[in-house]
Symmetry: C4
Subunit: 275 residues, 4 copies
């Protein structure tokens, strides 16, 4: 096959696989999304014992079927992009690879096939396919607010870590002897985290009076602590929304004053027309 | 009956059933609210076994009594409005129909009578009847804030969905063999949601050390994640309250539009001088 | 006793009991606070069975001792104020009466003595005694923010109430037959509230697959719902703090511009000294 | 050893132990951090019974080894600082002492060695060593926001305390006779705190219908209450972020004070013209 012809073929495949603007490209993407969802559902159902007992062969066949399809797709992607290495090391490139590996590994190590659920992450392509770009902008603004509060949250988490180690050890000293649940410091720390985050399974609970008193104190503490990350993120988001609402920096060319809203047509101070 | 007379009769019924300004209309509405509440209470009590055993005939009679009254009311509403189809497809029209259907269906399918609690939604009329319009304004501002953050919350929920699928599968791999509770991926996902939302029933809990370690990590994650939707909604509500506090209620006498700030001298939409 | 002398005596008692400015008045209040705390602790300890078994006579004596002291104090308060009825119907007057009644009633109805914990509310006097007025200002600003969001919260609670009735009934239909915990609609509603508020005792948990699926959905809903009241209160408090931070309305007498902070000595626009 | 030589020696030790700018100082700090972490991990593992059974001698040796190293380090620190008392009473000085004491006390009182986890607090030095000063600034801003809301939170906690005492007593009266879990008022208060904070272990749950009804009410209350501390902290953090975003870092060249807004032309403290 001459190079020019091969390039044309590559371009055509690229258009179908990577783009969603042409009818063929869109059809390909929609079919892919459906296959991914079906594949994730199959993995989930496979883990349900009474289904596994009855349809084990069907699941086995489906699993390999999906994997072979996704492998071909992965190879085609590698084939048709101009810089295969860049795709292979990109976010979606890595996910696409991780989405087929577990089946091959499961030949050697039983159980890894359940890791196939990672295929679910491929569904993130849904935003690009259906032109839901503005949703990504929103996600971006969440990520921005979280990044802005990263330092605060890191300090906060380190503080929590030291706190649960100290509280866990004290609870181990108090409850350790009389309570199966507090049989070691790591378990006591597990209990402390379960309590501070207000999850409260109840698989481990204090039985001594001193332990219950301290627990009540820890819960009220957790109550106050819970307010901190929420406050951090809220403050960031408020600042973010204030920034974007004040972003109109237009000054009136007549009186020079600023502070106009985006929908303003005339200067509210002198009545001059704005640009 | 001549048309004119019938129309007058229709109007009179309409006034009583649909309006709450006349003494008769108000009396009708108050009686209706009481009947609805009584009817919901009866459905609830009917489900309590030791009451059902003793008063089964009474409950049966009351249930049909209420249903017949509400059916007559529904038919009268259809009769007296000028555009019956519009009422029938409106929010309250659908609710009014759903509030009587379950009794009739229960003749064929046992158990559906408990769906009669949907009658409770008819109580929403309370705002209109007692002129609590400003409460609805408040509800409106909540709904507005939620709508404004809809895109952000959708992205967030999709992210959570993918997250619980991946975490659930990993926990299934870790705990699956040794723990009844993690017997399948769907159950492990159920556990993940119970944990991430800090509900923490404790009907399923990790027993392996690795599982407990990962759980503790998931809880701290849930802690941080919990802050995100709260931050989103808070930021929206703060922005909403800022908007309403910064704009006064003055309308431009030329173009009639509102939303001017206190220091505005000219209308920002048409340039007309404000008072 | 002549009227003048009696009035002087009344005034003296009033000074000691009601005021905390004189040494005697302060001493009286401190002793009272200690007695109240001791009395609440005694009521609590009395309810612990193995203590009650050993010290039942001591508890009985202490309880009557405290009650007699508080009764004398109550009568003295009534005696020395100029308008006894006004005191008797004031917040603290009612609390003072409720703090002694249960002991007398317990002669006729056993168990009411535990209601003596209501004495704890008398501790609220602590703010007045130790001149912690600014704490009350803070409490006031919390109450203000809550009041401002009252309408929003009422609408929200009504919505939650209707929601838990509908969800509870649906869960009763799904789980009712196979699950002891969902034996009636009221119990199912109790479970719904336990779940939506993320308390999650685990005394009642869904066992059917459909029930668990719906539960997971309810939890994610509760997650989103939890953000609403927090957002409401946060927005109110932010607005409150903004109002108070903007409260300086001083205008420069030279250039007339506003927006100065409380600690400003000179106008930041023209350098003129501010008042 | 002559004084001058000794002083030089002291200075050299000081440089290594207290400073992290020189290669030797940094190496010392990094080794120290690793030792502290290793020591905390050893204490945790020691509490795990099946490990303690097999490696009891190893743990004993390691524990004493770490303690001797940290004791030498503590003595060196005391020796090389100019004002030993000031160091000994500083935050890190106290922590450094508490980090070695438990081992010595454990000779007399068994079990105290688990208090060695307090060594973990020494890890806070990590910020200084790796020049993560800006993280401390963030911590500082969290602490500032919490301090600013201290009065509000104190009032709030006192209110919660009185609330749980009253609710706990009422629940004791309702459930007391029929429910093992509510056997005394202190236990009922413990349950109330577990419920109000939405931890919800489920080790104690109401069984009577009235008790479950009241519990549901308490949970909805806790729901609303949860919003208050979050609102307080959020409002403070928003105010904090607004303050810092509105004031630039320009200092007046005359009086040297900061906190000027961007539009300020004159220093608001002394009236001097700003750049």
């Amino acid at each position: 096959m001459p190079v020019a012809q091969r390039n044309k073929q590559k371009e055509k495949i690229h258009e179908i696989i990577f783009e969603a603007d042409t009818p063929k490209g869109k059809a390909f993407d929609v079919i892919l999304l459906i296959l991914i969802m079906a594949s994730v559902v199959v993995v989930m159902l496979e883990s349900v014992q009474h289904l596994q007992a009855g349809y084990s062969n069907l699941f086995y066949a489906l699993e390999w079927g999906f994997t072979i399809i996704f492998t071909i797709e992965y190879l085609l992607r590698l084939y048709c992009v101009y810089r295969p290495l860049k795709y292979a090391t990109s976010f979606f490139g890595v996910i696409d690879l991780l989405a087929i590996l577990p089946t091959y590994i499961s030949v050697f190590v039983y159980g890894t096939q359940y890791l196939l659920v990672i295929r679910g992450l491929r569904l993130l392509r849904i935003f690009r396919i259906f032109k839901l770009g503005h949703f990504l902008t929103e996600a971006d603004s969440i990520v921005k607010a979280l990044k802005a509060s990263r330092a605060k949250i890191t300090v906060f988490l380190l503080f929590i870590l030291l706190l649960v180690i100290v509280i866990g050890s004290v609870m181990y000293l108090i409850e350790g002897g009389q309570n199966e649940g507090f049989s070691s410091i790591p378990r006591a720390i597990y209990w402390t985290i379960v309590t501070l985050t207000t999850v409260g399974y109840g698989d481990i609970t204090p039985v001594t009076e001193l332990g219950q008193f301290l627990s009540a104190f820890i819960m009220l503490l957790g109550y106050a602590i819970l307010a901190v990350p929420t406050g951090i993120v809220s403050a960031e988001m408020v600042a973010e929304s204030r920034r974007s609402s004040q972003s109109n920096t237009q000054a009136c060319r007549y009186c020079g004053r600023e502070g106009h809203t985006d929908d303003a047509v005339f200067c509210k101070y002198c009545g001059e027309k704005l640009n």
